[in-house]
């Protein structure tokens, strides 16, 4: 895929979390829509500043749990009632209370996988390459610095205007993010 823009975006580096949250809010208020912040830990209030309020993950986990419960019980019912009925002292074949522990465990198992795989899918991971890694100082994003990147395919993106906007946020420095 050929990139449509000459660079991926423009990145500002901040040394504290508070400035980043403020900068992110200013970016959103200035009308930017395609941007992302990069932090060494989950910063409280950052997703509100970005106006990200919703994730489908809880629904995915709920679906995983329901599928798990149905398949856990269904497997036991199929095995002990339909496929291989064993009559032990005339006890009922569909001994549902005895099926509950395994149903519960399979529910948790499926929901756990749904949570982890769902998080990876929603986040687009694993993603071995990403342009932000081209910025030399980006290695500090996993240590103690905070980054805001405005992407070049943002309709409001103009190299000079965006640069001066980012400069106005008083970052440590502003750099281009090459492809």
């Amino acid at each position: 895929m050929r990139p449509k823009t000459p660079i991926y975006g423009m990145m500002a580096e901040f040394t504290d979390a508070k400035s980043l949250v403020e900068a992110t809010r200013r970016a959103r208020e200035s009308g930017y829509t395609k941007y992302d912040a990069y932090t060494p830990f989950p910063v409280e209030g950052l997703h509100q500043a970005m106006d990200v309020h919703h994730t489908r993950l809880p629904m995915i986990v709920l679906a995983g749990g329901i599928i798990g419960a149905l398949s856990g019980f269904g497997m036991q019912y199929f095995a002990q009632v339909i496929h291989y009925p064993l009559n032990i002292g005339g006890k009922p074949l569909n001994a549902w209370p005895a099926f509950i522990p395994i149903t519960f465990e399979v529910t948790i198992l499926f929901a756990t996988f749904a949570a982890v795989l769902g998080m990876m899918a929603l986040n687009g991971l694993p993603q071995p390459y990403h342009p932000v890694f081209n910025v030399d100082r980006f290695e500090f994003a996993s240590r103690d610095h905070f980054f805001l990147c405005i992407e070049a395919d943002d309709p409001k993106f103009r190299a000079d205007e965006t640069r001066s906007f980012l400069q106005s946020l008083q970052p440590r420095e502003v750099t281009d993010v090459p492809w």
Partner: protein, 463 residues
Amino acid sequence: MASNDQVQPHPQTARLDKAPMIQPGHSFGSITDKISSIVLSRQTPVWWFIGFGIAFLMLMMLMNAIGYLLLKGIGIWGNNNPVGWAFDIINFVWWIGIGHAGTLISAILLLFRQAWRTSINRFAEAMTLFAVACAGLYPALHVGRPWFAYWLFPYPNSMGLWPQFRSPLMWDVFAVSTYATASLLFWYVGLVPDFATLRDRAKNVWLKRLYGMLCFGWRGSARHWYTYETMYLLLAGLATPLVLSVHTIVSFDFATSVIPGWHTTFFPPYFVAGAIYAGFAMVLTLAIPVRKAFGLEDFITMRHLENMAKITLVTGLIVGYAYVMEIFYAWYSGNIYEMYMMFNRAFGPYWWSYWALVLCNIIVPQALWFKKVRTSTIALFVVAMFVNVGMWLERFVIIVVSLSRDYLPSSWAMYSPTRWDFMMFFGTIGLFLTLLFLFIRFLPMISIFEMRTLLPEAQVHED
């Protein structure tokens, strides 16, 4: 994950939280460097080689014991008729119980917003995984022909056979395998952001690539963190009932049978409390030497040790209550076999195990009422060792003493373990310690990104 309790502390809370969760003077960078340098350093301390060497020798002893077991069969163990369950189930329950503290720390304390859990959760989760690995060995080997152990799992087979899902032993298979899988996933996704940190800090290009693959290309995007935190909370919510269910189901192995001393409804809560009790004692046993050896007193402070000591005391009291209730049930049942079981425990041929259990699990841990004991690492370590032994004895008392004398005096028999039993047991301790030594050397044993959130600079507040 973020802690709210530092924000405008309530006067009462402020007093309780006097001891810090992290020593003052640290910054994001110093936390990162301190924890990641343990992993990335080229120099391995001498004591690590000594400890690893001893653990590895014990692991080799386990290999020997398993090799001979495969050759000869389980007749090499002391198990007999009627004591068909002995060391293998004692050790299985002991190890599984130890694992429970890890999940409690990582999941339940997260839901309760106990920020102090942060510096010990990674370590405790690793302990869970390794303990479950040790536990899993026993039932797999006890089936007699371990190469058919996969028959326990429901898979389409040409024989058209299914496992018996109405059996508590099958419930166990599902509970333990789900527990192992869920704990592994929880632990691994917790490591992902830290792998990204290691990727960015590693100098060696191959190491960089390795960590880059392990972290799935994590880049700390705010959108990712949002989903990640949601997932972490959901996983904690799932792991909490899971951990309670696992020891409940383990206790069903006993409670659904009709052996005197086993057939009681209070086994699930009794076992869960015992598991947490044993687990916290084990976390203390491991954390006290490790924090000393790596100089991590800044991160695993006295506050952590004291909090863990308090949980140990509380769960120990619940366990003590359960012991009293066992006596009460035996008497209240009016059943001669139940009453004899209790008499036999205290005054029968295995009397020593019962009284040693009372000493280790009830009497010695009362020392934890005293702040002097809770704030002395040596005293805490000693108490924790007593609890480790006591919880092992508890399973010995429940399993061996009940089985050796059940209903018919003509079928009574004494049990004594053979050297293979002991080699297996100490061998699994070797397996556990070997994995632990590898873990503390090659993976960040404290969650770096969660530690960063504990710093005051991490709090962003709109005024």
